[in-house]
Every structure is written in structure tokens, then in C-alpha cells.
Symmetry: D2
Subunit: 421 residues, 4 copies
């Protein structure tokens, strides 16, 4: 690992928690060079909802590459892009009654967010975007300005503007009615909040620590946006593609965002790809007004198409996710009870789960112990106080139980130790 330490920037992060060199991966398992097997409940921070190297997707990808199909096509038309669009329309948009236009904004989630913010500002002619406490939307300057994390914000090196932060659901522990503050600001022409172009929200905050917005809160937010003529952007980069059960995480709330961002698992194979979706009438872009080199990653289109065909043509996959999600949430709730003295709380929706600890350092110790026991789980939240579970949705029940058992064991081995000081 000397070469990483000598050559790779100090900015590297996950490798510090999991100091080994990964090599192969299949389904829910990843292997390091020494052949050690890890159960992967991290799943590329939600980029591998269908597991590593899913055989169906792999087969399509290999066929595509073997046949010298076009790999890089910028934003020209390609066969692979047409198949993706047609499949996305047929499998995702039409069944849900969503009349969205599709933008390929670049390969990364932050490209999808930047395009969403630009479009919302252009369409409305306003500049302020409302984001929420502990929201996470990316590291490019526009996306960073709507991201909560202070360490990442200060990395900008310039003041971040054109944004205002509002309380996420239950942020103040029910001590104040939902949207009281935001609604007050919007209603009051003397509030100091300039009329916003848009609101950007995650239905379940991933990096923020699996903070789950209730259905009611999401509906309230959508209503508020409509009432005041503010665009609603749902950033579904981490929670979309089935993570919470349905394809889009906002489906259960019965809302239709004006703009949706997708990335991470949209290619299905861990390959870079992102989408910005928006209501047809919002498509006020001029040709080429937002561009970028990797807007046509055909291999990603191919695996993305295969993923839609494999998992989303009927409701089976969603049902299975929800069933396994229930198992996971139930088990986490039990663990939260077991570790109540460390202030443990279970959170989650679908197969996005978390154990949050009040006791400082507990989550990090648990995660480190789990690694030693062959399980990858990351910590999240503003103070890394949350153990976050994002197993592949294709994880078997048995694997799921095994992973949860390692968490339980790791907790017992670390959290139970009486806190010093």
C-alpha cells in the first residue's frame, strides 16, 4: 500500500477505514488481494444496488464491448442511448405517469445537481435555493452551496452563496410545527429570505445519517412549493433506483417533483452515469448551454438498460426489497433497544438503514470492529455518529441476517464497553 500513501492525495478517505486492497467482487461480497471475503453493506455508497458484477448486466456489457460498439459518443445519438431512453420511458416513466424530459448532465451525481440548480434558476429567474440541514448534494461549487457539512463547505475556499438552509423533518425533535419557519419566511415580505427558485431535498438523507422524511412532511413540502411557485427538486441519487423500495424514493409520498436527480445505481454496475429529469415545461435549456465530455457513457447505458429490464419490469424486486427492508429495520430496532444506554436509535426506510449512537465514538468503533469481522459498513452523520447500512438490494435474506449479526456482535464487542470520561 506504500504507493497509495506516497502518491495519492491526503484527501483519500474510505481507504483509511478499510486499509486493504480490494480485488474481486461478486454480488454482496468483495474480496481483497489476500482473498479475505467481506460482506459489503456499503455497496459503493448506494451505487451497487444490484450487487457487484451482476451476471445479467455483465453479460450485456461484455457483448457490447466485444462487438466494438461505440463507447464514447458525447451527446450524439447512439443505439445504446436510444435503448436506455426507450426502456427508461417504458419501465420507469410511463408506468408512473411521469412526463419528464431526460438530461444527461455528465457522469457524476454532482453534474446532475448542478444541472438541476442551473435549470431551476434559469426557469424562475431567481437565485436562492433552499436546502436542508444535513443535506448532501456534492462537491462542485454549486452542489456544495446546498450541502450542509461544514468541513466540506470550508473546502470551497470561497463563501458559498445563493442558498438558505432550512430544518429537515423532525430536525428540532417535534418542538416546532413542520414548515413553521419556512412558511413564515415565505409569507413575510420582510423576512429577509429572497423568493427561492427551488427547494432541493433528499427523502432520506444518506450522508446526513439516514434521516428519514415522513410522508406527511414530504407532502407538506410539495404543497408549500406549489403554493409559492417554488420548484421542488428531489435529489434521489442515493435513495433512488429502489433503495427504499420503489424505483423513486418519493413514490410512497405520492408527490411529483419538478426536477429529479439520479446517479449512483442508475447504471446498475457501478459505472459513472447521472440523469437530471424535469417536467416537460421546464425544458428551457438552449442547445449546448450545459455540456460535458462524458454525457454519453454507452457502457453505462447498456448496463443501465439491462438493470431496468432485469429488475423493474414487474413489482417483484420492489416487494423483495421492502420485505428485506422490514427484516433489517426490525433487527435494527432490536439492536437500538439492546444498546439504549449508548443512546442507540434505529432509522431507515426500505434497505437504507442506520443505527445512530449518542455515545461519542461508538459508531466508528462498531464500524471498525465490523471490518475486522468481515463486514463493510460506513459511518455517516455530521459527527460520524451513525452506522449506515446500504446492502445491495440483491442481498439474500441469509446474507442480510449474517450482516446484521456481525453488527450485533461488533456492537457488543465495542459499544458495551463502559464509556470513559
Amino acid at each position: 500500500m506504500e504507493i497509495f500513501e506516497r502518491l495519492e492525495s491526503e484527501v483519500r478517505g474510505y481507504c483509511r477505514d478499510w486499509p486493504t486492497v480490494f480485488d474481486e467482487a461478486r454480488g454482496s461480497h468483495i474480496y481483497d488481494e489476500s482473498g479475505t471475503q467481506y460482506l459489503d453493506f456499503f455497496a459503493g455508497a448506494g451505487s451497487l444496488n444490484y450487487g457487484h458484477n451482476n451476471p445479467e448486466l455483465k453479460s450485456k456489457l461484455l457483448d457490447y464491448l466485444v462487438g466494438d460498439s461505440v463507447v464514447h459518443s458525447l451527446d450524439t445519438y447512439s443505439t445504446a442511448k436510444r435503448e436506455f431512453l426507450a426502456t427508461f420511458d417504458e419501465v420507469v416513466l410511463q408506468p408512473r405517469g411521469l412526463d419528464y424530459k431526460v438530461q444527461f448532465p455528465g457522469p457524476a451525481g454532482n453534474n446532475a445537481v448542478e444541472a438541476a440548480l442551473k435549470l431551476a434558476r434559469k426557469y424562475t429567474g431567481r437565485d436562492t435555493v433552499i436546502s436542508f440541514t444535513n443535506g448532501f448534494h456534492g462537491m462542485t461549487l454549486g452542489a456544495l452551496s446546498v450541502t450542509g457539512n461544514s468541513m466540506k463547505r470550508s473546502g470551497a475556499g470561497v463563501p458559498l452563496g445563493h442558498a438558505a438552509t432550512m430544518p429537515f423533518d423532525n430536525y428540532m425533535d417535534g418542538q416546532t410545527p413542520d414548515f413553521l419557519w419556512l412558511r413564515s419566511l415565505l409569507e413575510d415580505s420582510g423576512s429577509g429570505l429572497d423568493k427561492p427558485a427551488a427547494v432541493i431535498v433528499e427523502t432520506v438523507q444518506g450522508e446526513g445519517g439516514i434521516n428519514v422524511a415522513s410522508t406527511e412532511w414530504l407532502r407538506g413540502l410539495a404543497d408549500l412549493c406549489q403554493e409559492y411557485g417554488i420548484l421542488l427538486i428531489v435529489d434521489d441519487i442515493q435513495m433512488g433506483c429502489g433503495r427504499t423500495g420503489p424505483f423513486f424514493s418519493f413514490e410512497h409520498a405520492g408527490i411529483t417533483p419538478d426536477i429529479v436527480t439520479l446517479s449512483k445505481s442508475i447504471s446498475g454496475y457501478g459505472l459513472p452515469m447521472a440523469l437530471t429529469l424535469f417536467k416537460r415545461e421546464l425544458d428551457v435549456w438552449d442547445p449546448g448551454e450545459h455540456n460535458g465530455t462524458f454525457r454519453g457513457p454507452n457502457p453505462s447505458f447498456v448496463t443501465g438498460t439491462a438493470a431496468l429490464n432485469t429488475f423493474w419490469r414487474d413489482g417483484e424486486f420492489q416487494r423483495a426489497t421492502e420485505a428485506k427492508g422490514e427484516i433489517m429495520q426490525k433487527r435494527l430496532a432490536e439492536l437500538a433497544e439492546e444498546f439504549a444506554e449508548a443512546g442507540a436509535v434505529a432509522r431507515g426506510r426500505g434497505m437504507a438503514g442506520a443505527l445512530a449512537f449518542e455515545r461519542e465514538g461508538a459508531a466508528e468503533a462498531l464500524s471498525a470492529e465490523a471490518f475486522r469481522r468481515g463486514l463493510l459498513v460506513e459511518t455517516a452523520g455530521p459527527n460520524d455518529e451513525v452506522v449506515k447500512l446500504l446492502p445491495p438490494l440483491t442481498t439474500s435474506e441469509q446474507e442480510l441476517e449474517r450482516g446484521l449479526e456481525i453488527i450485533a456482535e461488533s456492537a457488543r464487542a465495542t459499544v458495551k464497553i463502559p464509556q470513559l470520561a
Copy 2:
């Protein structure tokens, strides 16, 4: 193509110039669905320096994928990343005496630029970054603020700040000494230019229309930066990886930038990948301060490693590029002479070439005609007044001559028509 028009955002661009659906590609040729063959002098805007689906790279990529090697690994350590780093160090950095740290900032060039800007601002504690007329660095908010194009800038929807534009080499046709304006501003404490964190420059402006900075100018810029304690960022996203001959486009000038961005052809296969390189002492990043989902695109690392091994272990590839570059520049010069009445001028370095026309619409007409004749060449420059040639560096001499001939024929068929009005 109906589905594209119905579903894809109006922001799509290149597909409007080349209204067909591409399917397969090999070397310097790309084929549409009807089997029509096109000679590709666009090369993914410089992302395909080694041609489409290079067999050596393809073989490595297929092996990697077939073996279920890890595809997505965020910024954990992987075998593929280690091989890339070791090869990059051995083949690129060490022979050139460059003691750079390597950051994987995300999959796109704009990620590399955003990371560069953030780091420069963090390191210096200053906020202004100097960019140059007709510079292009990307569409995310930070990158856009140092990009010249007014149409793209206005897409931001917010004023773009923390930047100042300066004249690129020969911008004012030699009517003013190099750096007179910039040096005046830096020397004068009453100039209104706050001391900059950095300068960001392309040695040859790609999107700006193949504007070539002279060796002298680049050295003068590097000296000026050193004199005033300003970091020099070379954005080598389009001109790096051998486009102008050497691996880095700044090598011929004998300068060592403080920060370098690479993307486009760094994966060698058209797959998304980007690097930010910087002098060891600039590595003041905190762990995780800049992150992102697709910082570990292992398939890109695999093809990127293969590309370095295949093309850069000796000087042969560079020499061949330079030789073909001379052919290209010579032919372009002849064409410029032939079309002098349309104000044609040849520009270029290595295998980045251009014919610029004073006559309005000439470049676009030429490009459209070339498409009809089976050649892809894009237009560039602030008013699309430039026909820009970026053939794969692996293009054979015969293919190169053929492409240049199509350009000549297309020019004769379009530019020669006496201008109306």
C-alpha cells in the same frame, strides 16, 4: 430518432449537427446504424486519442470484467488503482521529474477543475482565480466561473464571481506587450485586482478555437506566477495525453505547473476518469474534504494503465504524433492560403488543428458538408468560426490525408461560394 426528440432535453447539442444514430466504432472510424462509415476527426472532443476500441486496451478491459474484478470501489484501495498509480508514476511522472501527488476528484474534467480551484484557494487563503479569454474549464459552478463563453456562463443563473479574465496569448493581435495588463494589475496596489490564488490556463485552447499559446508566453506566465506567489494551474484535459505531441502539453515550454488537471483521454478508452495533480507541498487536503461517488472507476484505471503501457513507455508515439501533426499543420496552412478570401487562418500544435474563418458561417457550412462526405469535424470558437480537428493520434497517415482531403473538398463546396450581403 423520434424518442430522442421526445424524451431528451433540448440541451442536447452535437446530435443536432450530426443527425444520425451511431452504433459501432473502431480506430479512427465510427459507423451509424445504417452502416455508413465516418472518419472521426472529433474523437470525443479529445477523449479518444488512441482511437475507438483500441484492441490492446479492449483486451485488458475484457479480462478485467470477465474476471469479476471490482468495478466500483469509491476511494478504497484496489488492485487496478495501484497498477494505474504505479504505472503513471513510472511512465509519466518520474521520467519528467514531476513530484506530483495524485487526486482522483471524480469522473469528469469539471471535477478535476473544481478540485484544483478549491485546493488553490485553500492553500493560498485567497479567492480570486485568473482565467483567460476564451478559456473553457467546465459547466459546474466553480469551473464555469473561469470559463469565457457567455452563453454557457449565463446558464449559471447566478452571477459568477471570484474570477478575473485576462487576455490569452496574442488576444490583442500583438498590439500590446505580453502580460502588460496582468503585470500592471499585480504590481499596482490600487488596481482593483485582489491578489489571485491561482491562474488557470490551457496551453492550447480547445473549445476556444485551437488558440495556441507560444512557448514564450507560457514561460512568461509561469515566471509571473512565481514572482507574485500565484499558483499556476494548467488545465490539460483536452490537450494532455499526447494531443500536442508530448504527454503533457506544457512540456515543450519547460514549465512545471503547480497543479495539472487531466481527463478525457486519460482512461484511453473513452471511459469517464479525471485526475488532479499537484506539487507535494500543496497537498493540504483534509481526508474526505473533497469526495464523490465515482472516484474509483476501476475499468477506467485498467484501460488507462494499458494506454500508458502501450503508448508511453518510449518516445515513439510522441514522435509519430509530432510527425503527423506536421503533416496536418502544413496541409491546414495550404488550405488557409487557398481560402484567404474567406479570411481563413490555420492554427494548431501537434494533432490539434484548426481552420478559422473570418467569413461568418463558413466553418459551420464546411463542417456540415464534411459530415455529408463522411467526416466528423466540430466547430469551435466563440462564434463557431473555427473548424477544429482532433483526429485520434493513432490515425494513420493515409487516414489523415483522407480526412484533410475531405476538408479541402468541403471547403471548396461551401466556402468558395461568394458571400451574400
Copy 3:
């Protein structure tokens, strides 16, 4: 009045409500050209706490001018400035145990605010300043960014940044604990609120509609600032100089702001003058770092000194203000009761009073009627829903009763009319 309409910008405001030409003024009365007398409960928006043309101050001013004493001295030392400083120190600062340095930032309140914001940012090295809903601090770009009024904000023509708005006391009608939102943001490193340089607050919001911050709330704010290392700026431009009883409006709360701004009545005679006061250790200004032409308005110093000597050497003036304030508040409470059906509410502290109406247009109608009856009272609040009373503090009890009676009559003549639509 034709010349005003022809030559003066449409931006003019008060003259539209009081369409006459004023000529002379004494004490609490002002006279128009036709000799009509008005009782002035507007007092230059709080600039005439000692009434118009107070004889003591006038005498000193005339002596000064007659003797050819220096009028304009920029920021050189002058006899008049020394006398002002010495008197201010002896009469105001020392008795209150305030070890403040004094800055003469320019002639207007906005100059005092701009200097305060600049100093707070320089001292802390941070950029965000927290302001409050319906706060008002001035029209220059820095002051405007911490002002709530949306119409005035949009006049900036550029997005206003480096500020965040927070709820003023009782803004959400007690539905949420004080400072719950602000404290949550400050405690949470993922909140999206960058650590603030300062908080700027009015103890009683004047332009905002005489919104009174409770003693508890002010203490809570001061504690919060201290706990988090944030500077507390009290903008006492409208409420200082005795308007609420004591010289500074924050005295009753027992807090010591880090920075205080004063203007309006500090010259005592309606002449332009402003002060920025700050704790000694905050005086990190470089010589000349903030300058301006009218920082040494000696006539203002002379009348300001006379005002301090006349009114503030003992506690009599404060006691009289408080007594008259009680009369005023009591009478306003009675009126609120009388006009309860129009949603009338009384507000105030000391001789800053208000009647707020829920019924749309009621306040404006009342104010217009009062003008017809010989009383100047302005409307305030985000929707001009408040009749605001700022009688000179030197107003006699009889004049005060008379003014309040006109308000009652005007209310009866306008508000009582059943609301249409």
C-alpha cells in the same frame, strides 16, 4: 410642488403621504408653508428625540457657526470633536462601565452599520452575519444584505450574500422555543450555516413595525453569542439616544454588545452624524482602512455635545421618557382594545409605540386621516400594517395626550368603517 414632481426622482417616499411643503419647526410641531401646524409624532424617524430646533442646542450651534469655527475637518482633530468625545465618555460610556472605542464612520446610519459589519468580519475572519426577520439596517449593499424588506432588497440589483436570517423574538408566536433554530444550526456541523462572524439586532425593530424583543430574549441572544464566539452587534440607530428610556436601548437587559451603532438622534438636532462603538480589543482597524468625507461634521458634534449635557447628565430625562412612555403604551393598549375587531394590537417600549392592525389598509387609512387632523404618524411593518409613534421625547404630556387623541379620532373615522370585500 410641481418642481418636486418634475425634478425629484420617483424614489421619493414620505412626501407622497404628506403632500405639503414644510417650512418651520419648533419642539414637537412642524409648520407647512401655509402656516398649518402639525404635531410631529414621526420626529424624523427618530432623529429628533429632543424636538425640532431645541433652543439649547440651537444656541450652541449658532455660537459655533458665528465664530467661524471649523465646520468640515474630515478626521483631523478638532476642538468640537474633542468636546464631543470627552462628553460622550463622561456622560455616556463611563457611567455605564462601557470601555468602548469610538469610530466616526461617516454621516449616515448605514455608514455605522457598514463599518460594524466590516470590523466584525475582519476581527473574526468569518463572513456570515446573522440578521433577523424584519430587521432594517440601511440601503448600502452591506447594510441591505442584513435588511429583511424584500422590496428594498430587490433594489440591490445583485444577489445579497454573506448573511442568514433568523427569527426575531416571538416571530413564530411562541410556537417554538427561543433560539431553538439558531442554536440547532450552530451546534450541528452539518447544518449548512457557516460559523457566523456576528449577529446584528435591533432591540426594538423600528422599520419592522415596533417589534419589541423581550429582556429574556436579548439576554439569551447575548449568551448564545458568547457561547459560540460570535460578535453581538446592537443597531441602536433608531432606538438609542433615549427612545426607549435609557440612553442605549439594551441597558434594561443588562447586556453589553460587542459593537453598537448610533445615528439619527446622536447629533440631537437632526444633523447627519453616526457612530460605531466597539469593545477596545476589537479595534483592529488599520489607519484609513475605512474612510469617508463627512466623518468630522463639527456642527453635529457641537449639537451632539449640547444634547448630552442638556439631557443626560442626570437621570431626569430618562425618568420623564419612561413616564410618558407608560402613558403612551397605556393609551395604545386601550385603543387596541377598542379596535379589536380590526385586529388591533399595541406594541412598544418607552416612547416607541405602535398600533398594529390585522385589517388590511387600516394603518394607512389611519395615518392619512391623522395627517388631515394635524398629526404626523408614519406606517411601518412589512405590509405597512402598523401605525408607528415616535414623538420627540421632549413632547409634553399635554401634547402627547393630544396626539394620542388624534390617533383615536382618526381610528374612529377610518378603522371603524366596516371592511369592504
Copy 4:
């Protein structure tokens, strides 16, 4: 002076150069407490064009105050304001064919500048304002963003945006054609300069060191603005009111700015007052959109009216100023020659004059020596390398000669000393 040092902020400036306490003043002379007489060639940085305590103006002011005329009237109509407006129209605007609306933006020059910038941005819907190297427009955040001085800029504590700096006339010593850079940026849609709302310029830069824009350059600038639909703001705060000869400093160039700012000598007596003038069609202000407490300083209106009546009803005053200006410029040219070895250069127009020195410290030494010899002259320019002369325009020829003689003597006593190191 102990009380100043103990109580007044370290930001104080001029008092450090002239460490005495001023007391009385008449015409071109000012006296300190000990009775020492100084010839005042500083004139309140151009605020005392008619000298100290001019008897005509004084008489009108005393009459006004004695009669208990209204002093503070915010922006209601007053007799004094009407007289000022009517006189200004008759004496200044109409004879020059200027169809300007008049805004009273607040008492200070920065208020006039802030109003001008806001109006230009509102009217055009654009945000960038072009300013010039070594321009000075004030210390409030908007004005500061178009000011060149780096020390003052850094006092802002936040990055200053929405502005771009361009070379003032002859900034690059004739090495580049006028406006080559600005015109290039405006013509080129890829330049990175967003289309500006306005240009703000001083015809002679005061704080910048008496840098004189030529008639040709000013006309070129006006033409360029018209060609590109950019508003031309002339900041005539220091150079207006006759300083260069005519009432407005731009008259000799035959241009008509879209917006003009006036302050300093507009009240004629050193009292705070400012005006923003603009073409009738630009008056898109909403009522009250820009406000402020001291917009109706009636004593300033009274002396301002008297000044117009006394000095500007015929051309005599202008002719006298121009004649004395010639004497001054001639004498300065001689001195420049005498001190050529110290790199002395004479600059000026009308009665704004300067001696600039290349030799470091020369100007400051000269100014200090002049003070010891009874003459107040300030230094200016980015490095205080300029001795700046702004004698009252009412200075007699004899006084002028005497002052110039003191400068000569002071130069001989200081500059002639061979430079060390």
C-alpha cells in the same frame, strides 16, 4: 490630544499626518488651538471649494437656523429643498441642456454611488459594473467593490464581486491603444466578461493620485458605452462643483453621462449632502426603494443654494478657476523639472493638481515638511507617491503663489536630500 488616542478608533487617519487640534477657519486658512495658521490646500478633500465659512453662505445658513426653519425633513417636501432644486435646475441643469432627474440618496458620497449602482443594475437587469484602476468611490460594500485600493478592499472582510477593473487612461503608458482591452472583451462572446450594466469613472482620479483622463479618452469611453448599451456613470464627487473649471468635470469633453454622482462641495459649506443625477428615462425607482434618514439635510440645501447663486450664475467663477489652475499647473511643471532626479511629474486639471514622485517616500516627506511650514497638502496615489493640491477655488492668486512656494521650499528641504539605499 490624549482623549483622541484613548477613545477614537485606530482607523483615524489624517490626524496622524497633521497632529494638532483645529479650531477656526476662514477662506483658505485654518487655525489650530494654539493659533497657528495653516494655508489649506486640502480643502476637506475637495469639500470646501468655496473655502471655509464663506460669508455669503454663512449668512444664509444663520438666517435659516435663527428662524427655526425645518432642519431635518427626511424626504418630505421642504421650502429649502424646493429652492435648492429650482436653483440647481436653473443654474446648473438647464444652461447645460441636461434633462436629469435628481435623487437625494443620503448625506454621503458613498450613498450617491450606491444609489447609482443599484439604479444601473435595476435598469439594465445586469450585475457587472466596470471600474478603473485606481478608481475610488467609497467604503460601503457596493462602492468598495468598484474601488481599486487593495488595503481598503481587504477591509471588506468578504470577497467583492459584480465588478471588473479596466485600465484608466494612459494606465499602461501608451503601450496599448485606448480601450483595446475593454473593446476586445465586449466584442468577444467568449471573453469571460459578462455584459456590464455600467461603467463608473472619475474624469480626474482624486484619491488615485490626480490621474487625468484626456478629453479623447472620455469621449471614447462614452462612445463605447453607447455602442454597447452600457450606462456611463461619472463619479464627480471630488472633481465636480468647479474643481476642474466648469461645474461638472466632464463638460469640457462634451459628453453626457447617464448617471452623475455629486457630493463633497455640493453643499458649499462642508456640510454633508449628496446627489445622484440620471437621465429621465432611467428613473425606474419604486417609491421608497432606496431610502435613508439624512436625505433631507435642509441646512445643506440652504448653503448649496447660496453657493450656486453666488458662484455659478455667470461664467466668472469658472474663468477665475481656470486662470488660477493654469498658474498652478505651470508652477507644478516647473517644480517637476526641478525635481526631475526624484522622478517628479506634474499632473492636473483646473485647480486639482499634483506632483508625483518616483522616489519612495518623497511625497510623504514633502507633505510633512509643508505642514511644519504652515501648509496642508495631502498625499494620494496607491503608494502615497503623490502630493495632491486641492486649494479652495476661492483662494487668491497671492495665497496660491504662497502655497506653491511652500511646496517648493518643502521639496527643496526634503526631496533634494540624496536618497539613501
